[in-house]
């Protein structure tokens, strides 16, 4: 039986948008997986929900495409962690993806705008 769940109020990520969000997060500098996940949640004011586990396949994919690189480093609290860094190709990718995304959201927003005049049909 489905119960009313506060978690339900959060928005599940669209397919493919996770890649863009990861790239965007890395624009601020290298980060490890956990860091990326928390950053996305914080910056979206906890509206976007990521299952942390889904981050890792995405990170592998981005690495393979050559948009990010990874290296093992010691974190500030003295723990070994894998840090991901944006490459030049990744930066270019982010730019093109962002503008594509903007066009898409604008288009959708136009469609969803409250109807101003009654339609004739």
């Amino acid at each position: 039986m489905p119960r009313k769940d506060p978690e339900r109020e959060r928005i599940e990520l669209l397919q493919g948008t996770l890649d863009m969000l990861i790239l965007r997060t890395l624009l601020w500098g290298p980060a490890h997986g956990h860091g990326i996940a928390t950053a996305i949640e914080r910056t979206s004011s906890d509206v976007l929900k990521i299952e942390h586990g889904s981050l890792y396949p995405a990170l592998q994919r981005l690495q393979q495409e050559g948009w990010i690189t990874a290296e093992w480093k010691t974190s500030p609290n003295n723990r070994r962690a894998r840090y991901y860094r944006l490459t030049a190709a990744g930066r270019r990718r982010l730019t093109s993806e962002t503008s594509r995304w903007r066009r898409l959201t604008e288009a959708i927003a136009r469609i969803l705008r409250p109807v101003e005049s009654p339609e004739e049909s």
Binding site: H52, G53, P57, L59, Q60, R61, Q64, N77
Partner: protein, 903 residues
């Protein structure tokens, strides 16, 4: 997936282990960080840990998905699946065995029929570049002759050979039969008359010696013989010394010059040749009436190899130019002006010749298609059975599936795993099935062979057959696996973990998909039972038909003079003497002779002009003829209804007489007494013979086939027949088995003349041989119909048993609450009745819609024969009720206590 990712995978293959470990460590670090944060936020350590894991989601799945980025995971999982599948199958040896045998039978039957179709109709000849070969035919535009006629005369063939500019090589051939024996019983071998280019154009090489060449095929040749490889092995033990020795064929001695390569059996699929002779040698065998210059002796087939680069349009254009020239040069002199005009209108056409030619194609095309459909349906039923068992097994495996899903296995992954198991089963079935098919092929050839017409087919496992078996195996693996796989992976995790028995079953244990499967099986098997009943009934009708003669205990002896030195006028006294001696043998009831025997496949007809008013003329007056000796009707037990039999006074010089059958009497002398009236036969077109007096009327009997509508037939005394180049058939009615008297008959003939060639068979065999197609269909459809019925009933039995087992508790409770065994029985049988009703109704509709295609193959009953349909449905229902009753009774034997204690 991009090439970069593919490349990364390649690299991943190398450092795979390290990669897996790094990923592990990374995820562990992630979880620890999250835990730390949670603790910092004030959670207890335990709470912090669980919250972290919850947030991360399924660790194993995340790892798998991430790993998939690096590995050819499908390959690894495939190997895993196969290993696991084999383990599961080994755990259930009983099920595995039954399933594999069922599949092997199904795949075997399908492959056997398909490989027969392949061998007879599809396969290319084992010669050089077979696709370049075309068969030459001729459009006659004559009524009743549809499509190109394949048979030519020698003059036509010579014209085509000399005038054509279409083929890089062209050859003609004709079939022959030669007698090896010098005296007594004939020992026939299959012969070929081949033109000089035959072997060379086909690209057949000699195994030893040389083959026939154009130099061998010149008018006036002395003749040479080329043996087939098989004949050389059997008759000469494969000795090289055979080359250069001689062979006696019909008492003509010919030198053997070589042996054709093994695997070459000729161009006619379904037969094989033993000896090949050049066409020119027919002159030696035919004597004065050589067929080489006869313009109306049709006996040759023509094939050619198209010149490279010649388009079909160019070929058509060249044939259009060639045709009038060829036909103008070969007009048959003895034809009427009208017929000659028609002859000049004829045109040459070509048809693909890569698969050779075959009389079997015409005869067995439709029966084989029907059988293919039948075995296909049987196979569907068998698959449904296995699917039912798989479904039942799936229910028992639901716990395993639930555990695996809880541990993070995706549904598709599990479906794939289960399907792998199915494909494993069907592959094992396919391997066994291919062996079974080899055996089935031999059986099929026996069924389409007849005593006097042995069919020779060489089956080979070519890519078509193997591909077919493989495709069937894959398809069925998926077919019987897909439903159970999807169903069993749709489990409610909580219910399964709780260990409830009935996780799989909704609606009070009604086993829904299983029921539909069984209903479908019932429907399909009803269709097959209907088909089998139709073929069986039609075959029985043919066998028990009143054919107008008594076929049993009649020995037929065909006699042919070996040497042509006896003048024709001496033949009749010789045959008379033989007939007299045969009649006196012990065990012989009567002896007679005739030119043709009933249902022999030979036909002789002429137009008959009766002296009655309004008697039919032209083509409508065509009448079948036979020349018989006195005693012919007595031997065949065909009653003479009016007038008299022939007797010794009806000699060559006496007034011409005839006996006609009832149909002829009705047709030519309606309302009149035909005895004493006269008719004339049209000897050549437009030329009437001497008047013939009707002296008797006999009962109608079958002449050409058993299926024919009896046609008007006239019998004339064998002494008064025109010259006939072939020897007569002696018909001998005996008291015991005909084979018992064979040596006595042979000795008696030899004592009259030891140079005659003799060939024996029985009238019963001859009639049987004419029913090859009907017997094939009746036998196999009955077999497969029975098999379908059996499989469907096993399916029903299994489904009801399963249902009873599942509802054991319910039945126990009912009984504890006072339900009577009868009411429990009714509960179960109600279910059976519903399945049956749905199945029979559907089967009835499918039968009605599909049996129409059988119409042409049936005899004496309509395809939608009501009695057959209802009878089949009743039979099926009865058997189904029995199959359902047995497990249903078990439901009434449930001990309430045992059932209740179970949960």
């Amino acid at each position: 997936m991009s090439w970069k990712q593919q490349f990364a995978k390649l690299r991943g293959l190398v450092g795979r282990k390290q990669h897996d470990e790094e990923l592990d460590e990374e995820i562990r670090a992630h979880l620890e960080l999250e835990e730390q944060e949670n603790r910092a936020a004030g959670m207890s350590p335990e709470e912090a840990h669980y919250a972290a894991v919850r947030k991360f989601g399924n660790v194993v799945r995340a790892e798998e998905t991430a790993r998939e980025m690096w590995h050819w995971l499908w390959l690894e999982t495939l190997v895993q699946d196969i290993r696991f599948g084999l383990r599961m199958l080994a755990k259930n040896p009983g099920f595995t065995l039954v399933a594999v045998i069922t599949l092997a039978l199904g795949i075997g039957a399908n492959t056997a029929i398909f490989s027969l179709i392949n061998t007879v109709m599809l396969r290319y000849l084992p010669v050089e570049k077979p696709v370049e070969l075309v068969q030459v035919g001729m459009l006659t535009h004559r009524p009743g002759e549809h499509g190109p006629q394949p048979v030519f005369t020698n003059p036509l063939w010579e014209q085509i050979r000399d005038q054509q500019d279409i083929f890089s090589g062209v050859f003609g051939w004709g079939d022959a039969r030669f007698d090896l024996a010098l005296s007594g019983a004939a020992q026939y071998v299959k012969g070929l008359w081949v033109s000089g280019d035959f072997f060379q154009t086909l690209g057949v090489r000699p195994a030893v010696g040389r083959l026939i060449t154009t130099a061998d095929d010149q008018r006036g040749c002395a003749g040479v013989a080329v043996l087939s490889y098989g004949f050389w092995q059997n008759h000469f033990g494969g000795a090289e010394s055979a080359i250069g020795s001689t062979i006696s064929l019909d008492n003509h001695v010919l030198p053997i010059v070589g042996v054709a390569a093994p695997g070459f059996y000729g161009v006619n699929v379904g037969t094989k040749f033993d000896v090949a002779l050049p066409v020119c040698a027919t002159a030696i065998f035919d004597g004065k009436q050589s067929r080489l210059d006869q313009r109306s002796s049709w006996w040759m087939f023509v094939m050619g190899r198209v010149k490279p680069g010649l388009s079909p349009e160019q070929m058509k254009a060249r044939l259009a130019v060639l045709s009038p020239r060829v036909f103008a040069a070969t007009i048959p002199e003895n034809w009427t002006a009208d017929m000659q005009k028609g002859y000049l209108q004829r045109s040459l056409v070509t048809a693909p010749g890569a698969s050779g030619i075959s009389g079997l194609r015409e005869q067995f095309k439709q029966p084989l298609q029907i059988l293919m459909a039948v075995v296909g349906v049987v196979f569907l039923i068998a698959c449904a059975n296995i699917a039912s068992v798989m479904l039942a097994r799936a229910a028992t495996r639901s716990r395993e599936v639930a555990v695996r899903r809880a541990l993070g296995a995706s549904r598709m992954r599990l479906v794939r795993q289960l399907l792998t198991e199915c494909v494993l089963l069907s592959s094992a079935g396919a391997v066994l099935g291919i062996f079974l098919a080899r055996w089935g092929n031999a059986l099929l050839v026996r069924l389409i062979s007849s005593g006097r017409n042995p069919v020779f087919l060489e089956f080979s496992l070519d890519w078509r057959v193997l591909g077919f078996a493989l495709a069937v195996a894959m398809l069925t693996g998926i077919l019987f696996g897909i439903l159970p796989a999807f169903r069993s992976t749709r489990v409610s995790l909580t219910a399964a973990m709780k260990g409830s028995q009935a996780v799989e079953l909704e609606h009070h244990g009604h086993f829904r998909p299983g029921r539909w499967l069984v209903a479908a099986q019932v429907a399909l098997s009803l269709v097959l039972v209907v088909g089998a009943a139709l073929f069986l009934r039609s075959f029985v009708k043919l066998v028990t038909l009143d054919v107008g003669f008594e076929r049993n205990n009649v020995l037929i002896m065909h006699v042919q003079a070996r040497a042509h030195d006896l003048p024709p006028e001496k033949w009749a006294p010789l045959y008379d003497e033989i007939e007299r001696r045969l009649a006196t043998l012990p065990g012989v009831v009567s002896a007679s002779r005739s030119v043709l025997t009933p249902v022999s496949g030979f036909q002789w007809d002429q137009n008959l002009h009766a002296d009655s008013p309004n008697s039919p003329s032209g083509d409508a007056s065509a009448t079948l003829l036979n020349a018989v000796s006195p005693g012919y009707f007595r031997t065949l037990l065909t009653p003479i209804l009016a007038g008299r039999d022939f007797n010794a006074q009806d000699t060559k010089t006496a007034p011409k007489v005839a006996i006609i059958n009832q149909t002829a009497a009705r047709k030519f002398y309606p309302g009149l007494n035909p005895v004493g009236r006269h008719f004339r036969l049209e000897q050549d077109p437009g030329k009437l013979g001497a008047p013939v007096q009707v002296v008797g009327v006999v009962k109608d009997s079958k002449y050409w086939t058993l299926r024919e509508e009896t046609r008007a037939t006239a019998f004339i005394p064998i002494t008064q027949q025109p010259d006939w180049p072939w020897g007569p058939n002696f018909l001998i009615r005996v008291t015991e088995r005909p084979s018992a008297i064979l040596s006595l008959v042979q000795a008696s003939v030899v004592s009259v003349d030891n140079s005659l060639s003799l060939e024996f068979h029985t009238l019963a065999e001859q009639v049987d041989d004419s029913l090859v197609q009907e017997r094939l269909l009746a036998t196999l459809s009955a077999f497969f119909g029975g098999l379908a019925l059996l499989l469907a009933m096993i399916g029903l039995y299994g489904a009801v048993s399963y249902m009873v087992a599942q509802r054991q508790t319910e039945f126990g409770i009912r009984m504890a609450l006072g339900a009577s065994p009868v009411s429990i029985l009714r509960l179960v049988l109600d279910d059976v009745a519903i399945i049956l009703a749905v199945g029979v109704a559907a089967g009835f509709c499918i039968s009605l819609a599909s049996v129409r295609v059988l119409e042409k193959l049936l005899y004496g009953l309509a395809a939608r024969d009501a009695a057959t349909l209802i009878g089949a449905a009743l039979l099926l229902s009865f058997v189904a009720l029995v199959a359902g009753y047995i497990p249903a009774r078990r439901a009434t034997k449930v001990d309430p206590l045992v059932a209740l204690r179970y949960e």
